[in-house]
């Protein structure tokens, strides 16, 4: 399918505007969309066109209004004013159902999968085949298989797997199949690469290019500027709810895009002086940890993190990092081996003992399950693990004034954008939620920081800031264990780097001896 027949197929009206004559007509037109939330204008009079067979990257700082705009397009939120046209027809979009019928599908920033159900059930939900009123999973499965085969291996999934058991990259795949299964002509991806390793991102891009070449129009949101240059055909930039510019990959640079987004020029590299490692702070010896299903996730691992050192932990998903960090922070039982924190045995210590008394900051991989309470306010979330000690409590009562002051300080320092400190955390933009968790866990004077994907979903300016903070804390003598799927992050920050592969730790060496290539090989399990 190329663009023109697609345009006919979906009944585009003929427009005779001179210079548009030989161009395809936009398959999606956003006109004057404004969206108010209590206390904030998330989108202000937005105009945006999307053409068949193109990948449009939408950029913007945390809270710029990207997700809000996409939620409006896919029918989840009604706009305060403005309209959306699909194939020239005004979309009276009252629910996602209407948007799906118009060929719009969206992969949400926070995946929308029912975790207790199977892959197949999730894919067909809302578009099930039935025979005499009874579900026909065999036919559905054939349909899904056929769809996946058309993409030659890039979309391989196991339809019978339960979502709960799948790593993030696989869940993303399920979301994409779900979108394609509904025959999406307009595919919206809200920060899909935040949870992917570079290899996985590469294969996602291959898939997106294939779809584009078949005429699908794609909107792609990311904070990783390198990816934008790699995959986008066109770029639109949002700032504070407004479209502030358009550009093309050939005509711009990472620096220029960052400037457009933020309105100033952030530095994209972290100045880093070599650290002065002290005595070991975290000592892990022969540690073995099991997954919930009993398989071995972490297999007899030993390493140390010293004071004043950042140990980078790279590796593809589902190689045991999550379980390792779970065990180190007391969230998951240790099967054998020992963990020593500052000389004390904390192998079987509770999360509370490790976190509060041991003084470990923990930025969890999945903030939704371990890092925040959505319905609590910004201020409350900032003292979740501090609220039972001075200065936030006295005589067993919370001291609201101290809590508010603390929140004001943290929000200013970490640039957490909220309309008020009493706003429920769930209504902040994704990146701002992440910044809040980081702000809470990065406290001065803690001996150890365990950070997993600390800059997940965070915009370039804030990445820069968080990286600076991590380096500063290291310089002040903190030991840092940094796990990330983002190789650039590891390479930029770590003093020593190790790779987790199938539960083993391989290639532990000083950062100076490691480059992207070698890391890539190690992550594929090839020791250099």
């Amino acid at each position: 399918m190329n663009a023109a027949p697609l345009a006919e197929q979906i009944g585009l009206r003929h427009q005779s505007a001179g210079n548009r004559r030989n161009m395809p007509y936009p398959v999606l037109e956003v006109r004057g969309v404004t969206k108010h939330f209590p206390g904030v204008v998330a989108n202000r009079n937005i105009d945006l066109d999307l053409f068949p067979g193109e990948i449009l990257a939408v950029l913007g700082e945390n809270g710029a209004g990207k997700s809000t705009l996409m939620n409006i397009i896919c029918g989840l939120h009604p706009p305060t004013s403005g309209s959306i046209r699909v194939g020239g027809r005004r979309l009276e979009c009252r629910s996602p159902r209407d948007a799906i019928a118009a060929g719009i599908a969206m992969v949400h920033q926070h995946f929308q999968l029912v975790s207790s159900m199977t892959v197949l059930e999730n894919i067909v939900l809302g578009a099930e085949t039935t025979r005499r009123g009874i579900l026909d999973p065999a036919t559905d499965e054939r349909g899904v298989d056929e769809l996946c085969r058309r993409f030659g291996g890039q979309l391989d999934i196991n339809p019978q797997a339960v979502i709960d058991d799948l790593p993030m990259a696989m869940r993303l795949r399920v979301e994409i199949v779900k979108a394609l299964y509904r025959g999406a002509r307009i595919l919206i991806l809200d920060e899909p690469t935040a949870v992917l390793t570079p290899q996985e991102t590469g294969s996602l891009f291959q898939l997106l290019r294939g779809l584009r070449n078949q005429g699908t129009a794609i909107i792609f949101i990311t904070h990783k500027l390198r990816e934008v240059l790699d995959v986008a055909d066109r770029i639109a930039v949002l700032r504070q709810g407004e479209v502030v510019g358009h550009t093309r990959p050939g005509a711009t640079t990472e620096q220029a895009m960052a400037t457009m987004m933020v309105g100033r020029a952030p530095s994209l590299t972290v100045p880093k002086v070599p650290g002065v490692p002290g005595p070991p702070m975290l000592q892990v010896d022969n540690l073995t940890v099991h997954r919930n299903d009993g398989t071995t996730a972490v297999d007899r691992i030993s390493f140390e993190v010293h004071q004043g050192e950042i140990l980078g932990l790279a590796g593809g998903q589902d190689n045991g990092q999550t379980e390792l960090i779970g065990a180190l922070t007391g969230l998951r039982p240790v099967s054998s081996g020992t963990v020593r924190l500052n000389g004390h045995d904390t192998t079987h210590a509770s999360a509370r003992r490790i976190g509060r008394e041991g003084g470990t900051g923990h930025i969890p991989e999945d903030r939704h399950t371990h890092g925040m309470v959505e319905g609590f306010s910004v201020a409350q979330n900032l003292v979740l693990n501090l609220c039972n000690r001075p200065p936030f409590t006295r005589w067993g009562l919370l001291r609201l004034e101290a809590i508010r002051a603390h929140a004001r300080r943290k929000a200013a320092a970490f640039d957490i954008r909220a309309t008020s400190l009493e706003q429920p955390l769930g209504s902040l933009s994704a990146g701002n939620q992440q910044k809040l968790v980081v702000a809470r866990e990065m406290r001065d004077g803690l001996p150890l920081l365990i950070a997993s994907q600390p800059t997940r979903g965070v915009d370039v300016g804030s990445v820069e800031f968080i990286h600076h903070q991590i380096v500063q804390q290291r310089n002040a003598g903190q030991a840092v264990l940094l796990a990330s799927y983002d190789l650039d992050e590891i390479l930029a920050l770590a003093d020593r780097i190790a790779v987790m592969f199938k539960g083993r730790l391989i290639g532990l060496s000083p950062a100076a001896q490691v480059d992207r290539n070698r890391l890539g090989l190690l992550m594929a399990g090839i020791p250099a």
Partner: protein, 347 residues
């Protein structure tokens, strides 16, 4: 989840088989005349167990429909009471009719009233954003108030549903009289378990219902009309629970008394939980609770000298408490149970 569901289903099947096997023993084995065995497995006690279980089964199914859609229902008791009272009023108003049409009208009244209670619950929770626990409690108070106000103790309804023996099957030994020589609502309850269980697993409605109870937002973004389905299921659930109350008037007792539901709605709720929100599991739980009630009855009748009366009276409740407490942590409620779904207040 799957594992626990299976284990509750296994429990239901195991308990039923055990009771039937006991019944055969009593019928055929040489030691059938031993008093305790007859007391535990005789036709009397088993018939009573099923009679006691039917309202629990229907109430629990009503609860399941509602809660699998994500809406807490502690108001089963109220729905049952409303159903019972409506059955009585309709039956009583048509005492002069032939018995059949009068009972049919009673059944319709009980279904419709139950449905109305379900719809009211949905409106309170979904439209007016009332807390789901409070809404449930208000249903109980509402039906208690209405039935107490309008119930006239001097009126007497005439007649009740008689057994409809199933041809051929009812002639089977032991099983026939136990299962196939029953009044119609008993059949309806047992069939409803199968139908709801099958539909939840194998129909479009079931898949979507499971999805909205677990993660309504995911279902919404996949194009499922979440609210509509919640209204539908809560209303259907109300009708089933109402029938559970109507059963007491139309089939078991033939009369209405104030406070006649006597906590059965709450025991049905316990059955929902014990059955892990699955119809077959709830059937097993209802049978267990019904059986405990029946054994308690037999012991009281027999005036067993070895057990003080008050301890005997505790049996059904102790069984309920042990059953539900013993399962704590092993059952899993629908993921979004009790959290109203609003499109806009999440990031």
């Amino acid at each position: 989840m799957a594992v626990v569901t299976q284990s509750t289903a296994r429990f239901a099947a195991g308990l039923s088989l055990l009771l039937l096997a006991g019944a055969f023993l009593v019928e055929y084995a040489p030691f059938a005349d031993i008093q305790p065995i007859r007391m535990l497995f005789g036709e009397n006690v088993l018939n009573f167990a099923l009679r006691a279980a039917v309202p629990l089964i229907l109430g629990a199914l009503g609860g399941i429909l509602c809660e699998r859609s994500g809406i807490v229902n502690i108001g089963i008791e109220g729905m049952m009471l409303a159903g019972a009272f409506a059955a009585f009023v309709a039956k009583n108003a048509t005492n002069h009719w032939a018995l059949g049409p009068s009972l049919l009208l009673g059944t319709c009244a009980t279904l419709l009233t139950g449905a109305a209670m379900g719809l009211l619950h949905a409106l309170f929770c979904l439209r007016f954003g009332m807390d789901q626990i409070i809404s449930g409690a208000s249903l109980i108070l509402l039906s208690m108030g209405i039935s107490a106000t309008f119930f006239d103790e001097n009126t007497v309804a005439v007649g009740k549903l008689a057994p409809w023996p199933v041809p051929l099957l009812s002639a089977w030994p032991v099983i026939g009289p136990l299962l196939f020589h029953k009044p119609p609502i008993t059949y309806v309850a047992l069939l409803a378990v199968a139908v709801v269980g099958f539909a939840l697993a194998h129909t479009r409605w079931g898949l979507r219902t499971r999805a909205i109870g677990e993660h309504p937002r995911a279902a919404d973004t996949a194009g499922v009309a979440v609210l509509r389905l919640q209204y539908l299921n809560t209303t259907l659930g109300g009708a089933l629970a109402g029938l559970g109350g109507g059963y007491l008037v139309l089939e078991a007792v033939g009369q209405f008394q104030e406070g006649m539901i006597a906590g059965r709605g709450f025991i049905a709720l316990a059955a929902v939980i014990f059955g892990n929100w699955h119809p077959v599991g709830a059937l097993g739980a209802s049978l267990l609770f019904g059986y405990a009630q029946a054994v308690h009855n037999e012991l009281l009748l027999a005036q067993a000298p070895f057990l003080p009366r008050h301890f005997v009276s505790m049996i059904p409740y102790v069984v309920t408490v042990i059953a539900v407490a013993g399962l704590a942590g092993r059952v899993r409620a629908p993921g979004s149970l009790g959290q109203p779904y609003l499109r806009e207040t999440e990031a």
